[in-house]
Symmetry: C2
Subunit: 501 residues, 2 copies
Amino acid sequence: MANAMETLKEACGELSDIGSAAAVLAWDQQTYMPPKAAEDRGRQLAAISTIHHERLLDPKFDALLAELSGAALAGDDRLYVDEFQWVRERARRLPSDFVRENAMTQALAFAAWEEAKKKNDFSIYAPHLEKVLSLTRKAADFYGWTDHPWDALLQDHERGMSHKELQALFAGLRQRTVALLDRIKASTVQRDFSFLDGTWPADRQWDFGMQVLKDIGYDFEAGRQDRSTHPFTINLGSRDIRITTRLREDKLLDALSSTVHELGHALYEYGMGLTDPRSPLGQAASTGMHESQSRLWEIRIGQSRPFWRAYLPELKRHFPNTALDRVDEETFYAAVNRVQPSFIRVEADEVTYNLHIILRFEIELALIGGTLSVKDLPDAWNAKMQELLGITPPDDAHGCLQDVHWSGGGFGYFPSYTLGNVFAAMLMEQIEKDIPDLWQQVEARKFGQLLDWLRTHVHSKGRRLRAPQLIRQITGKELSSEPLLRYLESKYADIYGFAAQ
Amino acid sequence: MANAMETLKEACGELSDIGSAAAVLAWDQQTYMPPKAAEDRGRQLAAISTIHHERLLDPKFDALLAELSGAALAGDDRLYVDEFQWVRERARRLPSDFVRENAMTQALAFAAWEEAKKKNDFSIYAPHLEKVLSLTRKAADFYGWTDHPWDALLQDHERGMSHKELQALFAGLRQRTVALLDRIKASTVQRDFSFLDGTWPADRQWDFGMQVLKDIGYDFEAGRQDRSTHPFTINLGSRDIRITTRLREDKLLDALSSTVHELGHALYEYGMGLTDPRSPLGQAASTGMHESQSRLWEIRIGQSRPFWRAYLPELKRHFPNTALDRVDEETFYAAVNRVQPSFIRVEADEVTYNLHIILRFEIELALIGGTLSVKDLPDAWNAKMQELLGITPPDDAHGCLQDVHWSGGGFGYFPSYTLGNVFAAMLMEQIEKDIPDLWQQVEARKFGQLLDWLRTHVHSKGRRLRAPQLIRQITGKELSSEPLLRYLESKYADIYGFAAQ
């Protein structure tokens, strides 16, 4: 048995190495690859992905898994086998003809989406989205479902959860966030944020971001930061977790918040690699749990008052003789946390962000469930924007055409963003109990104890528990949006000068 | 038949894509990879290489090649099949157990070589070199040979050639180069090269090199230059040929000559990719032919008088207010082409370089043939240095420990460096006939016609002909070191003020 287990681990390790090789290709593609290499790179990535897929489904695993299924295995080994079996079974459910058709359809849909967004013409995208939807429903059927086909898609991100649980979780969040937004809109507090106007040299933004990365504890011997069009984190091996950022000279805070966001993802990957390198267990508990790590660092730490008490002077040193000279800590803190309904999700503040997500969640359910047709999508989108945020997009480019996800069949993904905020809030309540002087530490630019806490309680667990179980193990509580709402309502009552309810 | 041919091309294209994927990993390893990733990266590269090897030996090719072997195929298709079959047969000759043992032995020998060189202690390396030699002789036996086992190793680099042909080719080169060196040593011409002392900022060296790359016609949309410890060229796909350079602030000309050298390699790869992307025919005619392209650009163009007539003013613009201000064109040209016997091959001038190679060639034959034992290597090396260059290394670090090649079983490779010079000289004689105003063009920084000539006559031929046949097709002449000697003797008679013989 020990032998079968060793053989399995060896094979899984090799699968992981092949996956990492593909990651190196993808990283290069988005950072340093010269433009004319695009076609070749597409083929190279397809070749490596196909090899990975074939090896995953290699019949040799059947005998191995059969031998291991009845065996007495130590706790972690049992989890290891179960996890591998789940991933393999999931990959096996989709016939290879279907996978090919799906890839082709999604590639065309992506091109159509790009064009439609650019030309602000939903009709270019609509027929492609129809096809993607139809194939995605088919995929749900291949995976299997009982209550709603969308639940089958959710399993790639939040295994074990269902749309019903999310509806329950989001109901209070939806209602109280809308109410909070109304109070914020009604606030009479006036602040002058004009100090943010102007041009902020990219190289100084870069240096400031690097300083923060170093302070928080990013290991530059096991990773690096580069520039890319869209910021991302990528795992190229258990000791090679890289991040990228985007530098916009008209946005002082854009690069930093994206840097700290990606740092949160990277620290999670790094921590899992310490415990479970090249193992199916060294994976995030869920997409939402991954997002909780990025949001915790980006927002809960990086947009906190103690953080900026520590870093505003540093920021001023990086940008001497600018409008920053005249800004005080409170104004700066309010600027970082400014709430304003807007059309584009990726530019949204932390209050309205969850409303953008709930909108997509509700629309996805209707699209996948067949109660909303593609042709009615723009109207449904705009109506919900009005209902949730009180604004109506001027056009579809600022509405239902803004996200790339659906063109690639990425249904079931969006809720993870809000789950990340929910998880982060629950974790933060526990962290504030376990580290009573957390905020003094942050103000002293000391992040080691917080990072250790996250390593111990979250990172080192990898995929041993589903996200809600992991949260329960850590906090002793069931999943709830209450901590997130408590935090939001108290924070913004403070900033916008009304009494918390 | 068309179908079998298409199937073969598809499979070869995929093999090429997998090889390119490995190249991306290798490029990153030597440019941007963080240090702690080294172990993972080794495993990832091993995984991809193993997959490449397995696919190459996939039994499916047996039937395919059998079907194609008797078939009537158009010229290029026949060459395509033959080339693939040769590569595959060569890979198949080595049993996989032997390949593993070889890899292990060479890895240990590499580590021992590094330590031995650092500690200047040949005895650390000797037992490892013994083992490598013994396995390399075994490999020669697996490949098969008739006259001398070394000939079997040469086939990876100069297919169809033999040590006897090289001995014949090198005999005159050896004798007349030693004689030329004697005349140079006896020269009474005095020049002041002290303007080269001092510090040359790396960023300006970089800018100057980039300017030259642009002028010569490197396509930055299908490649890029980065920094690395050892300069190299690497093919990451037919439209992605990258080069690296090394910047040493104490050496003004080091980076430029390495940049132009790698550019020559890159232009060859680029040209082959234009004609034969993802094909076994889109490979260099031989290692020596590859070297001819780098040496032609590095030395024949980049160290020519017309080149520096054009670029010395540009260099002075890049380094204003330095000792360069007081140097004239003739002195600079003489400095670039300074001849001085020295211990280290990679730092040698173009006259003594071939003597370094002939030394290694003669020693390799004796080591592989068993007429020289490893324990006698240092003495044999030093004796030959005295015989050929008139100097004796102060220690083994400056002698037989200087090169990495043999630790990895790289026997049969060294002669390619001198063959590169021989080929380049034969090509240059033809080029000067075909482009009568070549040197006026170089002086006007126009390289397009030369590049077109190389594309037409060398690059686009890929591996359709062996190197000597390709040279004969282009020049109408048999392989000879006469053109190289003619060029060297005339050039250095001019620089060192004696009559060419």
